[in-house]
């Protein structure tokens, strides 16, 4: 692993963010919109609900964490799509850069962009709605790490799909978090789901984060064992995502898809 190459991939993306506000703006805008929208929805629910219960930490806290996961995923997929849009894949993959270094660079970019988004969201949630997630301390850090690893894994799978199906498959990337939302129990406990859906929920690490968040808020208890299981699931998921991307890459090298990567070449 050559870290200079790995940093070069992230550095290239930081230049793009620095030099163009339309790129840097998107790190914050959706995160802030989510906070404002769900903040007011939860305030309204509080006004009509049980006076002893607040929806703000349960719903807005979960939305903030889920939006962070989505940002982590997009932190990986967007720099890759920049390479697709600028037709740069051949320049990179015909260089000494390895797949590990390339993915490492995308992950480094994701760490920075998703952390910025999370910082903005938690500050706004605290300022406007009195939700200071960081007061959860170690638990908050554990939730963030678990969701980040999952988001990175999803991002790697998403770019694998685009590499396999071509640039026109870009739209597959954006709805992936939305598709998973019903399974991981962002807004409700998974006990309300049918058993078949719960089986899927239990193999997804974010489920344990949102169940854990509700446990802390409602019962002031946290099952660390469940978070340990979530960590193990995350590592397995990340390993599978890496294997999936490596397989797609090898297939693209075998077929020559990388050398002639354009939407038309996949028709």
């Amino acid at each position: 692993m050559n870290f200079r190459r790995l940093f070069a991939i992230a550095y290239r993306y930081f230049i793009l963010l620095r030099d163009n506000f339309t790129r840097s703006f998107q790190i914050f805008v959706w995160a802030l919109l989510d906070t404002v929208l769900w903040g007011f929805i939860t305030k309204y629910l509080d006004s009509i609900g049980n006076p002893g219960f607040s929806f703000v930490p349960v719903i807005l806290g979960a939305v903030t964490l889920w939006a962070f996961m989505s940002r982590a995923m997009q932190g990986v997929s967007t720099p890759f799509l920049e390479d697709v849009w600028s037709r740069n894949l051949l320049n990179f993959f015909a260089s000494p850069l390895t797949i590990g270094e390339y993915l490492g660079g995308l992950i480094l970019a994701s760490i920075c962009t998703s952390a910025l988004g999370l910082f903005a969201m938690t500050l706004l949630a605290a300022w406007l709605f009195g939700l200071a997630l960081w007061t959860l301390g170690t638990v908050f850090a554990a939730f963030v790490i678990l969701l980040f690893i999952f988001g990175v894994g999803l991002g790697v799978i998403a770019i694998g799909i685009v590499l396999r199906l071509g640039p026109s498959a870009e739209w597959f990337v954006w709805p992936i978090p939305m598709i998973l939302t019903p399974f991981v129990g962002v807004y409700y406990p998974i006990s309300v789901l049918p058993l078949s859906m719960q089986l899927i929920s239990r193999i997804l690490a974010p489920t344990y984060v949102f169940e854990g968040l509700r446990g802390i808020i409602e019962k002031q208890t946290l099952d660390w064992g469940a978070l340990g299981l979530a960590f193990a699931l995350d590592i397995i998921f990340l390993g599978l995502a890496y294997a999936f991307f490596s397989y797609i890459y090898r297939r693209a090298v075998h077929s020559g898809a990388i050398a002639r990567y354009s939407a038309e070449s996949f028709q």
Binding site: F7, S86, L90, N91, A94, L97, V253, G256
Partner: protein, 245 residues
Amino acid sequence: MPVLQVDHLFKKYGDTEAVHDVSFKVGRGEIVGLLGPNGAGKTTTINMILGVLEPTGGSISIEGKDVARERSKALARTNFAAVYASLPGNLTVSQNLDVFSRIYDVKNTKERIPKLLKDFDLEKFADEKAGVLSSGEQTRASLAKAMINSPALLLLDEPTASLDPSTAQIIRERIVDYAKSGAGGVLWTSHNMYEVTDVCDRVLFLSHGKILLEGDPKGLPHEHHKKDLEELFIAIAREPLSLEL
């Protein structure tokens, strides 16, 4: 040791054989022209050398390093410029050279980048986005990137296709000087036979994925009773079987 050694290279797509038993070498200080009509297998061969296309059979080594087994080490000493691989248009020329100097792990970037900007007459475009440059300026920027790591093997796929005659001549001189300095060898594809005759020490004619002829670009046409390389090229493109070795 040659900078590039290609042994019994094959590439099949289903039943179609794009490259068939191609073997050749490029020595240090040598410029070898890879010629042939469209679809002859030139770009396929270059893509296999660059590690972005897996051969069906055969082997490629760069400075003795096998591309299949030691890809990263082999490609660290290689670089390329091609009309179909322009630099990312969303970065400036300087930023592109900076990023690629890191990718190729170039140490002396503070001297290297200004020198390349000067050599390829890009100083006034250093802070321009690569995407807004003219095609000729983009080609020069790609060539500057191709020289960023002083490669032992330089692959050039129609490097002067979009350059005006004056700039093309300057670029040819730069590349010839580079090769003759002994820094590396060059594999050059072009459809400009005047250029090939002028620049290349040796040419390989590909047709239907096979090497049909190999030799000195000045002597080869006369050996086959043709006036010049262009006439020989046309004969190969139209009647390859009549010249098959």
